[in-house]
């Protein structure tokens, strides 16, 4: 997150698309933080008399089959839907950056082992790996986030390894080595901070995919569990109402997912370019 202050002032000088996307994301973040202040109802307040109501003054985005206010659920849902991908990426970054740095610094057999490991992970679709973990340990948000974090780690490791290899041949590293500094200290104290910008840019680009994967798991019933108002789960719960002609319960959270992912992709690609992330 060290990158954010560097990014924000520049947004105003960027194309309209980037500015609009940044505004959307900022609005979503505010909504998530201030959900209790903004939401007109409790997210789990059931009102069967108002089941499947359309948009109106009392329910701006209508209600679902149990009469829960969709706007309120959407605002509260933003909390899990936006925070969970960040945690997921943090897990992926912790594992991936450590492995990538280790491989780049040690070289030799350590590098071979890490590279083979990432290659093997690349040979499988990540989603299947995640589903296997869920099949074994059962669903839930924690399992989903950790499993997806593991699934995203190899790509982070591969990226970190490639940028770290370019970094450790620089002369400052040799200079520290000559001073008798240990490899661990050089890596953590000097190499890692220099890679941070570029790796953060890489993670920012992955955010959209992380959010989509988590939403998919929640939709399938493997991720967030009721009474959570996670957006993926909301889509699942709203799907049954579609055949009754009520589109809002499924489409409101669905559109929210799409809008956030689009905005993050627009801002993310732009920010990654700024942060010197190689693509």
């Amino acid at each position: 997150m060290t990158a954010l202050p560097a990014v924000l002032p520049a947004v105003s000088r960027r194309p309209a698309g980037v500015v609009a996307a940044a505004v959307v994301l900022a609005a979503m973040a505010v909504a998530a933080i201030a959900a209790p202040l903004l939401a007109p109802y409790e997210p789990d307040a059931i009102d069967l008399s108002a089941s499947l109501a359309g948009t109106s003054g009392t329910h701006l985005l209508g209600t679902d089959a149990s009469g829960q206010d969709l706007l309120s659920r959407l605002l509260y849902g933003a909390r899990t839907s936006l925070v969970a991908p960040v945690v997921l990426l943090a897990v992926a970054a912790m594992i991936g950056v450590s492995l990538g740095l280790l491989a780049a610094w040690h070289g030799g057999w350590v590098d071979t082992v890490v590279s083979r490991l990432t290659d093997v992970m690349y040979a499988f679709p990540g989603l299947l790996f995640v589903v296997l973990i869920i099949a074994v340990f059962g669903g839930g948000m924690t399992t989903s986030v950790l499993a997806l974090g593991l699934a995203f780690a190899p790509t982070v490791a591969k990226y970190t390894r490639s940028v770290a290899r370019a970094e450790i041949v620089k002369s400052y590293v040799d200079a520290y080595r000559v001073q008798g500094m240990g490899g661990f200290r050089i890596c953590c104290g000097y190499v890692a901070p220099n890679l941070a910008r570029s790796v953060v840019g890489y993670l920012v680009v992955l955010f959209g995919e992380a959010l989509m994967s988590l939403a998919t798991l929640s939709y399938l019933g493997f991720g967030a569990q009721p009474p959570s108002s996670d957006w993926g789960l909301m889509v699942q719960q709203g799907q049954a109402s579609i055949v009754l002609g009520a589109l809002l319960p499924a489409l409101v959270p669905g559109v929210a997912i799409a809008v956030v992912v689009v905005s993050f992709n627009v801002v993310g690609v732009w920010a990654a370019d700024r942060l010197g992330t190689r693509r």
Binding site: A123, F124, P125, M212, T216, L220, G221, I257
Partner: protein
Amino acid sequence: MFPAAGRQVAGLLATLVVASFVIFGAVYAAPGDPAVFLAGGRDDLTPERLAVVREQYHLDEPFLAQYLHWLGNCLRLDLGRSFQYNDEVVDLLAARVPTTLALVAYATVLFVLFGVGAGVLGALRRGTWADSVLIGGTTLSASVPSFVAGIGLAAIFGVQLGWFPVTGSGEGFAGTLHHLTLPAVSMALGALAVISRVTRQTVVEAAGADHVLVARASGFPERQVVARHVLRNALAPIITMCGLVTAGMLAGTVAVETVFGLSGVGSLLVGAINGHDFPVAQAVLLLMVTGYIVITTAVDLAHPLLDARVKTARRVA
């Protein structure tokens, strides 16, 4: 070429062994008694039932022996019994594989046609408004998860307009096509961006090559120049990418089959996990991983046929 192909097939087998080992070994990662886990972990398990499971999975033997028994059974298409459906797993799969294959094939046709088409159009009309619209549109479509796209399409074209059925997989070729259109479109949408982007870039690169100018200077008609000297050269990377995306779609069926209530392999997997039917989940995962690895290896093997330089490079390597 043959030693190289042999190496790739050996790599395929090695990856399959690793995958099957992980899928089998996952049983032991689960908390508690593996026999209880494999039997569905229900409370009303009788000692006899557990004994049958122990017998079937050779749980009293060493771990490696269990794995080899299991692998041997898989190769003989004996995938165990489903506790949820009380049926042979292989029969369950056989009944559901055609739907999934039809869905993936249909989605592949769609994304190849429209993705490659959009990419070629964007490359040849680079910098025009059509190019910008294509880039914007495909980027947008890639930002919508397939289950959201599926629900949106079902709501609009299924429920509101009534053009397409929103559930089931239909009878006969026309019926299947009709039923699978919305699911296939929802899967293809996400692939459009990556395919059109790869196509656009490789076509732009191929069109900038000197030999294209030479062909043009030789007075060949523009269509011939584009077909034989631009598209032909861009083919290898495009086909590789299409193969990867198709392979990935095997896993993508999990979400889309659930949206449209299709009884394919993907929805079988979801049902198996929710019903703690681990033998079925194992079988489906093994099948999907095998399909994925086979497709990606096939694409790899096809590469030298499209670009002779690869063949030489591999022979030398």
